[in-house]
Assembly symmetry: C2
Homo-oligomer: 441 residues x 2
Amino acid sequence: MPRFTDLRTRDVRFPTSRELDGSDAMNPEPDYSAAYVVIGTDAGDGLEGHGFAFTTGRGNDIQTEAIRALNPWIAGRDVDDVLTHLGDIGRELQRDSQLRWLGPEKGVIHMAVSAVLNALWDLRAKREGKPLWKVLSDMTPDEIVDIVDFRHISDALSADEALSILQAARPTRGEREARLLEQGYPAYTTTPGWLGYSDEKLARLSREAVADGFDLIKLKVGGSLEDDVRRMGVAREAVGEDVKIAIDANQRWDVPEAVWWVNKLGEYHPYWIEEPTSPDDVLGHAVVRRDVAPIKVATGEHAQNRVIFKQLLQAQAIDVVQIDACRVGGVNENVAIVLLAAKFGVPVCPHAGGVGLCELVRHLSMFDYVAVSGSWEDRRIEYVDHLHEHFLDPALVEGGRYVTPTMPGYSSQMREESLARYAYPEGAAWADENAAQEASH
Amino acid sequence: MPRFTDLRTRDVRFPTSRELDGSDAMNPEPDYSAAYVVIGTDAGDGLEGHGFAFTTGRGNDIQTEAIRALNPWIAGRDVDDVLTHLGDIGRELQRDSQLRWLGPEKGVIHMAVSAVLNALWDLRAKREGKPLWKVLSDMTPDEIVDIVDFRHISDALSADEALSILQAARPTRGEREARLLEQGYPAYTTTPGWLGYSDEKLARLSREAVADGFDLIKLKVGGSLEDDVRRMGVAREAVGEDVKIAIDANQRWDVPEAVWWVNKLGEYHPYWIEEPTSPDDVLGHAVVRRDVAPIKVATGEHAQNRVIFKQLLQAQAIDVVQIDACRVGGVNENVAIVLLAAKFGVPVCPHAGGVGLCELVRHLSMFDYVAVSGSWEDRRIEYVDHLHEHFLDPALVEGGRYVTPTMPGYSSQMREESLARYAYPEGAAWADENAAQEASH
């Protein structure tokens, strides 16, 4: 009877701030990082689960420590029992009566739960010899419902309602799975639009995006209105009228300012405004949505848990649900959110980028397509072409669509040489950086 | 020109779970703990700022680590400059472009900001030779407004509106200060009502509370309805009809269950239901409030920041605002929340208990009374008679009222011998515990 060994964690950071990749109105200089965890067993089969929480640099050590604090819930437990009851372990991890005080179900401790649950799902998928989206899509509606923690969302989505949604999609799963393997899943790209890029770079990358087959690109906004008007003009001219341009303020505005600013950009008809204000402000998003229509409102990458998503949907505050693979409670809570979105008829367009997020979220959207909403209409997964080379099963986008992954697992495993090189602060990438900085002083 | 030295942190835990003090429906066995920070200077005046985040045991090490991560924002900086611009430092700490990813403004990283800001206010008050409530109450309306971060709340409370509230209360500050020093501030007690106590202990402690001058006691509920009905009967019989009984579910219920359960206890006319459901569920609280009226709804000890409080007020979801001294961003954000509550005309009744919370929150309510709302009508500070002996300036309640503190500082400093004895895991209190456990195995 195999048992889990101790969690192994690593603080892994990429010095992305050097190039201003990833620069936006609230995150001027991120160093994309992963608080990384490996869950091994004594089975001797060579299989391990890999997971991580994504951060932007400082604090990745705190996040790593929080993951380590969950070791007592995993180490020594029966592998088969845990992996066949991932709904139970998810509820246990979230409900530890002392650790939950640090959240509850939000921030550092919740992202730690996410990393551990994602690693467990990765291991389960590897053991089943399937990619995660396929593992989820092959589960019965009852098994999927059991993953979900309905606490605090049952007023909006009951277990019975979730079951009905899943049962309705079940007879046609096979057709969609075949289509997915053949055609992949729609993507959009944020690559052209970082705030730190010059107009020339923005125009060039925008044209390249269209040539690459994307029909939606995204621009960061919220630094200065004058710049935003100019950059929207540059982008619109570069891509023409038929390509959608989404804009993303990364929480920069207060509610009245958001309405005013977005409407100032109206002549370039942005497709959606993303994170116009605080991710905690359900009522604020509802006001913005009412006052910038027909421009859509999107949010979710910083929505802390299913209770916030529930309210965003109840309040009709958003047109687009943007799940994040590593902020909420892992696969489990994302399944809950995908089901909530289906109940309310709102499309899911995952947040990605950072490090590893593209790799992970494609599995969730593909599961949504095969087994939940049954549609990819108005749905696209974000794509950013950063840091994929560090993963064993990197995200691949062709002709504006994510290629459907087939490698067993959750695509969450980084290459051993990357883990070593970007280990913070001792890895070679940082040792070089520190040496260079010292030499320049 | 004195400068700050490095932050000194300590992981301090009290083994309260041995006695089931503090047991409720979601926190059956808390070990009340403080992630403690001392901020020193090189001024040579012997003055240091003390602050802490309160946790319930496991994870206190993560919280302590998060406080340490803020050291670069403090160490080496000009003491006079920082202490006269605590609004600026508050905004800086919250907006670190990398650390904010771990929140933003919620959970572990936000509580770390709270601990550091509270320690800075403690030091400022000590240097001014005044208790914190008096420091705040002596500031001009403009100076107070400058403490507040209006980002993401300006749609509900502008700086001008805040200024008007403060100016209206200013001419009569002196009268209320005199009354406060003479009469203290109203309190209520949770001491009788922990879920782990027997009926006999509940009845005895309830009678003692009334004899001690309290006119409101609080019972933990949400374990089983049968028990709650019986315990409400015991408490009501013990205190009679004139004393108010509040009930507290500690987030235990979903929304429909909360409405159903609270109404089942209606015959004992509970005064308020506290934390009926998820602290993140603004819309859920609004439904509960509508459906259990005239029983009031109270919440806030787990409300993560001013944006959640803003929405609870905008949605008319609560009758009682329960601020916590250590969860939101310190004195700064609590001043924002007290001003929001005044704007909406909802009374503030702080959450206390744990370790050190009674010591701290009395300063905030007293400031509210003197300089903001100008009233203590329908307002009471929670009181629990635990762990006060560890503080240099312990909370003192006489005749059902908090005695107004006069010692300079924020009352946040623990005795050196307590810090040493309860240091985790090396302190004598835990060494004994661990030795006893080992001996019994």
